[in-house]
Point group: C2
Chain length 910, copies 2
C-alpha cells in the first residue's frame, strides 16, 4: 500500500492505495467520485480524463504509483455544480453536446485543460486537442462539442456572459420545436448522472460481482464443465452453470414469422450442450470483487469438442456444412419480394441494365459505455434487473421462461445508458444477472470491459446483395431484381424481421414499378445479429444507392438528377407497394442541388495529383415503427405540482427525456404549465406501462402519440363547460379521476409473403452529400464536408434532432471507411474496430431541414434516429468514385482497398 | 432491496438499498459522501444530521425504509465548497467553532435547518434548537457555536457581507496572537476532512473489517477459546487469538519509577490467561464487512472461570483480595510528599484545622468520534498503523515488543482525530490492528461503536483523598496533611505518574510551608486509567479547593479573600518545593474580585425559595510538560515556495496545526513569508521527528520551542553579513544546507521520593468563578454563568485558546454535575454518561486574560489545554454550597445527591 496526500478538486486528501491500482479506480471506487467514467479501460476513449498537475491525463491507464505525492487533480466534480455550472458545462448543455453523456465528463475536463493553456483556440486547434487526447464520442458527430468549446471560451474570455449563453424558454412558453436542453443534460455535464457501473458500485456491500466464463472458440460441443478449482479461489461465493438455471435456459426470439424454420429457442442463457459463437457464456463466477471473480473464471475448466466454425453466410450455406442448431437448417428463413409485373421480360427489353454485388459487414456499435447491469430482489420478492435494455417489456417476455420465473415476479429497469445504437434491442446480460440473483439470492453486478462489449454483444448483420436495375434511356427506373443473404450469426432473434428489411429498403426512395427478389437469413458462428441504427437499411440502401450511381454513369446522367427523376412523387409507391406518407424527396433534392453544384466545382478546383477530391450523393429512407402492428401506452396524472407522465420511452442516449417532455408539454399547453412542472417517470416496469422498445425511430411517433392521447384525456377531464380547466383541487373536490391511460396503435400491416404491405405509420427522408479527399499515395479517404437535406417531419427538439443527425453521419463515415468486426483477433478494441475520432469526422456538417408535417405523427413529427445512418456511407463511396474512379462495393473502404483499386485502374491504363 | 430516487444536494440519484440500512450508511458508504459523520450511532450526538424534506434529522437512526421516495436531502457537501463557503461554514471557521471538527457538519446542517425556518433567532432560540436536535459537542463549550450562528444569520439576512465576516490577516502580517482560523478549519466545516472512519471506508476493497470478542465480565481466568464456529460464519477471513500474536503479547507501560512493584508488562494485547476488566479483547474476527465480523465475533466461545471483581480501590485493598496480576500486589506504587517541617505538631498548635474526605470519579472522555484506526504494509514492507494516537513515538515503544516487530519496521500515523481529551495518550486499538495486519498480511480496519468507545477505552482514575489544612486565625495556611488513593484499573501504564500528581497538585496555588502526605496506586478491575485533560489535578485540586471553602467558613472569611491571602507570591514555593514560573494569581484574583462582588449581589437578588442562587470560586494550577525531563524535535526546511516544518505535534482536535503555524510563522517573521507559504507535515513517523506526546499542555511549550529553535537555525544559515537573508536560489547556489533539526529540552527534574522537585518548565494559572442555580425541589443544579481569569502566558492564537477554555469549563460542569462511568450497565451511552448538552452549559462565559510572558515558553507562551479543567468543578460545588448550604464532596453532584443534602439539612433544622 501507498499513503499519498493528493489534492482532489481543491481538497487535500490522504489516500491509502495499492500502487498498481489505476487513478480512475481510486477516484471512482475509493473516493466515490463517479463523475469520472471508465469506458475502454485502456486509454482509447478519454472518458476517464482528469487534469493532474495541469495536464489532461487518462486516469484509467495511470497507476497510482505514477501519481506524484502532492498531485493536484481536477475531476468533473471540481468544475461546477448543477446550480453553478462551469462555462464549459453550460456550453455543453446548450449545444446538446451531451447525448448519452458518458463521454461528457472526459471531454469537458479535456476542454478545461485546453482552455487553461490556450484561451483562444481555433476550431481546428480544438479538434487537434481532442484528437491528441483521444477523447472519443459515438453520439454527437463531434461538431457540437467544438461549438460548445468555442462558446465556453468566449465566456471565459469575458466576451459573453453565462447568462447570455444560457438557453432561455421563448416568451410564449413553448418547448416543442425549441433548442431546450434535455432534462438530463445538467446531470450529464456535471458528472452527477449515475450510469450502470456507478449505480453498481454504489450497491450495498453484499452485492456479488459476476464474471463470465466465455467460449474462446466459435463452435463446439461441450463435453464437461469443471468448476471445482474456481470455487476454491479467493472471494468466490458461487460458480454457476446451466445446471443452476431454473427455467428453460433459453432466450426466446419471440418468433413472429410462421415461415421461420427455427423455433426461436436457440440462444442459451448459459451454454449447456454447445458453444455457438466466440464469447458465449458457459459459467458465471459470483465473487466479492470483479478482480476475484475474473481470476476465478480463468480456473473453470471446460472440455470441448471443436466443430467447424462457419464464420460467414456462404460457409454456413455450403453443402457440407452441418446444422449449427441441429434440426434447424442453417438457412432458416426466406423473404420474397414481388411487386408489379415479372421483371425478367422488363430486364430483357430495357434500354439500360446495371448489376453488381454488394457487401456491408459487421459494423460494431462501439458505445463508450460497456454493457453493464445488476439485479436484486425487491421488498415484494420480485427479481429486479437493471440494465441498458431499450425494450423492457420485450426483454421481459424473452427471458422470463428461460429463467423459470413467473412473469409478475420479474421487473426490468433501464439504467441511464452510455450509448447503445441498437445493440440493446437484444437482451445481453439481463438473463445472466437473473440467473445469478436467483441462484444466490444476493444483489449481483456485472460490468463488461470493452473487450467483452466488443466481442460479445450483437453486431450489425452483414448482407450479401446482388442487385440489378433496368431503366429507360431517360433514366426512368423500370424494374429491380434483388437477392440478399443475411448473416445473422447463431441466434435467430429478429433475424427474420431484419431479412424483411431487404424487401422494404433495397431501392427505397424510388418508384420502381416492378420488383422481384429473394432474401434469406443464415445461421453462422460469427457475432449474433442485433439491431443497429437504421437496421437493415444501411445494407439495403448501400446496394441501391451505389448501383444508382453506376446506372447514372451508364446513362451519362448526373447522379443527383437521375435520383430526382425517380424519387417518390404522388401516385408512386414504395417497394412494399404502399404510398409514402409524404413526398418530400423532390424538395430535398431541390434544396441540395445548389450546394451540390458548388461542391462539384470546389472538388475540381481543390483536387491535386496526390489529393483527389470528389462529391457523392445518396438517398436515405427509413420507416418509423416496429414493422406492422405497433402500439404504446402511458399514463398521465394530474398532481398538486403539475402533471406526471409515465411510460417506457427507452433512452440509448438519444434524448428520450426530451422527446417525452416536449410532447407532453405541447399536448398540455392549454393548461399553461411550465416544463419543470412535468415530472417524467421512465423505463421502470414496476411503474411504467409498455411503451415498446426504442428501435426503428418509433418512439417519437408511437410513444409520442400515446403521450399525446393520455394528455388529451386528462385535458378533457379537466375541461369545464366554459372552456377553462379545473385545478387539481377542483378535480379532487369533484371526485374526478386524476390519472389517465394514453394508448396509441399504428394503423399498419406487416408485409405479406411477397413483401407487400404498409408496415410503417411514417417515414423519414434524406439526401446525403459527401465531399471527400482521397490520398492517392495511401488510399486513405478523408471526408471533408457532409451536407444533408432531411425531412423528419415537424421537429420536436432542434438540439436532439441535430444531434441525432450529426452522430449518425459520423457513424456512416465509420461504416464507409473503417469500422468492422470480422477479425476476432484484431477487431477487439475501439481503435481496432475503426472508431472514428474527431479528425476522422468533418467539422463542416450542414443540415437543411424540410419540415413536412406527418398526419400520423404527434404534432406532425416523424422519427429521426435511423435516418442519418440509412445511406450516408453510400454517398461517401460514390464520392470516392467521383474523386478517383475507384468503385468500392464491399465495406469498409479501407485505404488498402482504395489503393488496390487505384493500382488496378493504373494497370488497366484508365 | 429498495430502489429509491432521492435528491441529494440538488442531484437526483437512484439508490438501491437495504430497507434496514441507515440513511447515514447509505450516504457515507454507498454514495461516498463522508462529510456526514457518525458519532454515537443512536441519535444522541447529531453528528450525522442532514436535512430531509426541510427537516433536520439524524441520519444514523433513519432507516432507508422510512426515507420517502423523492426525498430531498441536504448534507454538508450540499452547502458550500472550500472556495465558496456557505455563510454558516464561514462563521464556523471565523469563530473557531470547529475544534476537532467532528461535530461540525452536523451542527452546521442543523443551523441551516434553523435559519431556513427562523432567519432571525435569539441566542436562546439557537440553544433551544441545538438542544432539541441533540447536537452535541465535546470541544467548544458551545458558546462559539452560538456566536457563529448569530453571525451567519446576519450574513444571510444581508446585514453584513461574507467578506466583512471573513478573517483578515493584520496589515503587519503577524499570525501570532491573532484570531486566524486554524489551517484545518475549512476542511472541517465543509466535511472534506477525512477522519479515521472516512479513511477506513476509502481503503482499497481488500481491507478486512475487524471486530473484537470482548470480555463481558470484569475478572476471570480464561479456560479455553473456541473460534471454530466463528470461522465458518459468512465473510470471515480469519479469527485471531493470543496464539496469533508474534511478540510478547503485552503493551508495556514503560515504567519510569523504580519503586513501582509491577514490571509494566501487565496489559495483554489479546487476553491469554486472564480477563482483567470488562471489554478486554480476547479475539479478533477479520471479515469482509463490519457486520459480518461482529456477527462472527458473537460466535467465539470463551470458557471462563470467574474471579471476584474488585470494582474500586478499597475493594482491591481489602485483606482478602487476591492479586489481580499474580505476583504484583494490588497496591503497587506509593508516593510520599514531605515539604518543610513535620505537620503533626503544626496541626496540633494551629488556630484552625479543617479536614474532609473527597472523591472524584471515573470521568469518561466522551469524544464525539469513537476510537478508530487501520493498518497496512507499505511499499517498504513496514507495518503502518493509523489511529487517533496522540503519542506516536511513545506508543511505538509501548507496542512494538508485544507485536514482535523490529522497531524500524513499525510506523505509526495519526489520523485527524475527532476529540481525545487524553484517552489517546494510551494505546487503544493500535496493537490489535498490528496483530491483525501481521497475521493476515492485509489492510485491516477497526471502527469502535460508541458503546465500545465508552466501555473499553481508558477513563479518568478516581482519587480517594483525605485532606487536612491548618491555618492561623488570619487565614494563613500553615500545614497540609494529605492521603490519596488512586484507583487505576487493571493496567499500570502511567499509574505511578498519575499518583505523583497528588503530591504536585493537592494544595497547588498556595504557599503551604509544611506538607506531609502519602499517595498510592491501586490495581482494580474497573476501567483502566488513562490520561484525561488536567490529569490528576481535577481530583487533587477538587479536594484542596473545596476544603479551602470549608476553611474560609470556619474562619468566617470570604473564600476569595482567603485564597488571595495564600496564593503564590515571590518567595513562596509550590507543594513540590520549587518556585513558580510567574506570580500572577494575586492579579488574577484582583481582576475577578469586582465580578465576584457583582455575582454575589446578583445571586442574593435572584434567589427564590425554589431556585437558590450561589457563587463559588476556585484556584486552578497546572504544569506544562511531561513531568521532569521532556524534549521535542522537528525539522525545518527552506523550499522553493517557502518553508516546510515537520514534527509530531499531535492533535486531539485542540489545534496543533494552528500552534505549529503560529509558532513557525512568528519565528520566521524576519523572512517576511506569508502563512500559506509554511507547509506543515505532522504526525507521521515515517517523515516526522519525535515531538513527544500531546499531553500535559506541553506541546506549545516543548514542541513550540523546538520549532522556534529549528527556525532560528535556518534563519542563521540564511542570514547574510549585511543582515538580510539569502533566497532559496542563493542558498542552493552557495551550497548551504536547506534543512535544520530543531531541538529543545526542558530544564526540569522529576520529583524525588518526598515529592520535591522542579518538574515543569512553565505553569498555567486560573481563578474560576461559577454562578449556579439550585432547584430545591429536584436538587438539580444549573450553571448560569462562568467567569475565569486565566494566565496562560502570551497567547499564540486567540481562537484556539478561547476554544480550549470554553470547552474545558463545560467538561468541568460535566465532571461536577453529571458525568460518570461507574455503572457498567447505565454509563454506556453519551446520555447515560452525563454528557452536557448545550442547555447544560451557560451561554454566559467570560474569560479575562493576564498574559504574563513565560521565560521558558516560546515567545512567552505557556500551555492552555489542561488549565480550564483543573478545578472549575470545585467552584461549582462551592457555589452549590453558597446557594443552598449543601456541601458535596463526592462527585458528580447529581440532583438526588443535592436533594438528599437539602433534606438532611432540613431534617437537622438548619
Amino acid at each position: 500500500m501507498l499513503k499519498k496526500v493528493i489534492t482532489i478538486n481543491g481538497v487535500t486528501r490522504t489516500v491509502i492505495v495499492n500502487p498498481e491500482t489505476s487513478l480512475a479506480d481510486v477516484i471512482r471506487k475509493q473516493l466515490g467520485l463517479t463523475g469520472t467514467k471508465v469506458g475502454c479501460g485502456r486509454g482509447q476513449c478519454g472518458a476517464c480524463s482528469v487534469i493532474m498537475n495541469g495536464k489532461v491525463i487518462r486516469s484509467c491507464v495511470t497507476r497510482m504509483k505514477r501519481v506524484p505525492d502532492g498531485a493536484d487533480i481536477t475531476t468533473i466534480e471540481g468544475l461546477g455544480t448543477p446550480d453553478n455550472l462551469h462555462a464549459i458545462q453550460l456550453a455543453w448543455a446548450v449545444h446538446g453536446a451531451a447525448q448519452c453523456g458518458f463521454c461528457s465528463p472526459g471531454f469537458i475536463i479535456s476542454a478545461k485543460g485546453l482552455l487553461d493553456t490556450n484561451p483562444n483556440p481555433t476550431r481546428e486547434e480544438v479538434r487537434e486537442w481532442f484528437h491528441k487526447h483521444r477523447n472519443a464520442c459515438r453520439c454527437t458527430g463531434y461538431k457540437p462539442l467544438v461549438d460548445a468549446v468555442m462558446d465556453a471560451a468566449r465566456v471565459l474570455r469575458g466576451e459573453i456572459t453565462k447568462e447570455e449563453l444560457a438557453y432561455k424558454l421563448p416568451k410564449e412558453g413553448r418547448v416543442w420545436g425549441t433548442k431546450q436542453p434535455r432534462p438530463s443534460a445538467i446531470a450529464k455535464v456535471t458528472g452527477t448522472l449515475d450510469y450502470g457501473a456507478d449505480l453498481g458500485h454504489k450497491l450495498p456491500f453484499e452485492k456479488l460481482h459476476l464474471a463470465l466464463v466465455q467460449a474462446k472458440v466459435s463452435h463446439a460441443n461441450i463435453l464437461s464443465i469443471d468448476t471445482s478449482e474456481a470455487e476454491e479461489m479467493p472471494g468466490v461465493y458461487r460458480v454457476l452453470t446451466h445446471k443452476d438455471v431454473k427455467g428453460k435456459n433459453r432466450i426466446t426470439g419471440l418468433i413472429t414469422f410462421p415461415s421461420n424454420k427455427g423455433d426461436g429457442w436457440d440462444r442459451p442463457i448459459l451454454c449447456d450442450k454447445k458453444v455457438f459463437q466466440y464469447g458465449d457464456a458457459i459459467a458465471i463466477v459470483c465473487a466479492d470483487t470483479e478482480e476475484n471473480a475474473r481470476a476465478a473464471a480463468e480456473k473453470v475448466k471446460v472440455e470441448l469438442e471443436e466443430l467447424p466454425a462457419y464464420m460467414s453466410a456462404p460457409a454456413a450455406m455450403a453443402d457440407d456444412a452441418i446444422e449449427i442448431h441441429p434440426g434447424t437448417p442453417n438457412v432458416y428463413f426466406e423473404q420474397k419480394i414481388a411487386k408489379g409485373e415479372d421483371t425478367k421480360p422488363v430486364m430483357e427489353k430495357a434500354d439500360v441494365v446495371v448489376e453488381d454485388s454488394f457487401y456491408v459487414g459487421r459494423q460494431p456499435h462501439l458505445p463508450m459505455e460497456p454493457d453493464v447491469g445488476f439485479a436484486y430482489y425487491d421488498e415484494e420478492g420480485r427479481l429486479v434487473i437493471h440494465s441498458k435494455s431499450i425494450g423492457l417489456h420485450l426483454h421481459h417476455a424473452m427471458i422470463a421462461p428461460g429463467l423459470g420465473i413467473e412473469p409478475e415476479k420479474l421487473i426490468l429497469v433501464q439504467n441511464p445508458a452510455g450509448g447503445t445504437f441498437g445493440y440493446k434491442f437484444s437482451p445481453t446480460i439481463e438473463a445472466l444477472l437473473g440467473v445469478a440473483c436467483m441462484a444466490t439470492g444476493k444483489p449481483v453486478f456485472l460490468n463488461f470491459n470493452m473487450y467483452q462489449q466488443i466481442t460479445y454483444t450483437g453486431k450489425r448483420s452483414p448482407f450479401f446483395i446482388n442487385l440489378k436495375f433496368a431503366a429507360d434511356k431517360a433514366g426512368k427506373l423500370l424494374a429491380m431484381e434483388s437477392d440478399w443473404t443475411v448473416d445473422h450469426g447463431p441466434y435467430s432473434e429478429f433475424g427474420d424481421l431484419l431479412t424483411v428489411r431487404g424487401a422494404q429498403f433495397i431501392g427505397a426512395g424510388y418508384n420502381i414499378p416492378n420488383i422481384r427478389g429473394l432474401g434469406r437469413t443464415v445461421c453462422t458462428n460469427h457475432a449474433w445479429g442485433s439491431a443497429f441504427r437504421a437496421y437493415g437499411s444501411p445494407q439495403s440502401e448501400f446496394a441501391s444507392e451505389v448501383l444508382m450511381d453506376q446506372l447514372a454513369e451508364k446513362l451519362g446522367m448526373d447522379p443527383l438528377e437521375l435520383r430526382y427523376k425517380n424519387v417518390y412523387r404522388p401516385g408512386d409507391t414504395t417497394p412494399t407497394g404502399c404510398e409514402p406518407d409524404v413526398y418530400s424527396l423532390p424538395e430535398l433534392i431541390d434544396k441540395i442541388r445548389p450546394k451540390y453544384q458548388e461542391a462539384l466545382e470546389r472538388a475540381k478546383k481543390e483536387s491535386t495529383a496526390d489529393k483527389k477530391r470528389g462529391v457523392g450523393v445518396s438517398i436515405g429512407v427509413y420507416g418509423c415503427g416496429l414493422d406492422g402492428p405497433d402500439a404504446a401506452e402511458c399514463w398521465v396524472e394530474l398532481t398538486k405540482d403539475g402533471v406526471t407522465v409515465a411510460t417506457c420511452w427507452h433512452d440509448h442516449g438519444q434524448g428520450a427525456d426530451m422527446g417525452c417532455l416536449a410532447t407532453a408539454h405541447e399536448a398540455l399547453r392549454p393548461l399553461g404549465i411550465k416544463p419543470e412542472q412535468i415530472k417524467l417517470i421512465l423505463n421502470d416496469m414496476s411503474v411504467c406501462p409498455n411503451g415498446g422498445p426504442a428501435g426503428g425511430s418509433r418512439s417519437q411517433v408511437v410513444v409520442g402519440n400515446a403521450i399525446k392521447a393520455g394528455c388529451e384525456l386528462l385535458l378533457n377531464a379537466m375541461k369545464k363547460d366554459d372552456g377553462t380547466y379545473r385545478t387539481y383541487d377542483e378535480m379532487v373536490a369533484e371526485n374526478i379521476p386524476l390519472r389517465y391511460d394514453g394508448k396509441w396503435a399504428a394503423p399498419c400491416t406487416a408485409c405479406d409473403e411477397n413483401g407487400q404491405g404498409n408496415p410503417f405509420p411514417t417515414y423519414m427522408y434524406a439526401v446525403f452529400m459527401s465531399e471527400v479527399e482521397v490520398d492517392t499515395n495511401t488510399g486513405k479517404t478523408q471526408v471533408v464536408k457532409m451536407t444533408v437535406a432531411a425531412d423528419v417531419g415537424v421537429i420536436a427538439n432542434k438540439l436532439v434532432v441535430d444531434g441525432q443527425i450529426y452522430g449518425g453521419l459520423v457513424q456512416g463515415i465509420g461504416l464507409a471507411l473503417s469500422e468492422d468486426f470480422e477479425d476476432l483477433k484484431k477487431h477487439t478494441t475501439l481503435v481496432g474496430c475503426g472508431l472514428p475520432y474527431i479528425k476522422d469526422a468533418p467539422d463542416n456538417i450542414e443540415i437543411i431541414y424540410v419540415e413536412t408535417p406527418r398526419e400520423l405523427g404527434p404534432f406532425g413529427a416523424s422519427g429521426v434516429g435511423e435516418l442519418p445512418l440509412t445511406s450516408p456511407h453510400a454517398s461517401i463511396i460514390n464520392a470516392i468514385y467521383n474523386a478517383c474512379g475507384v468503385r468500392i462495393t464491399e465495406l469498409p473502404a479501407l485505404p488498402e482497398k482504395v489503393l488496390a483499386g487505384l493500382k488496378a485502374k493504373e494497370a488497366a491504363g484508365k
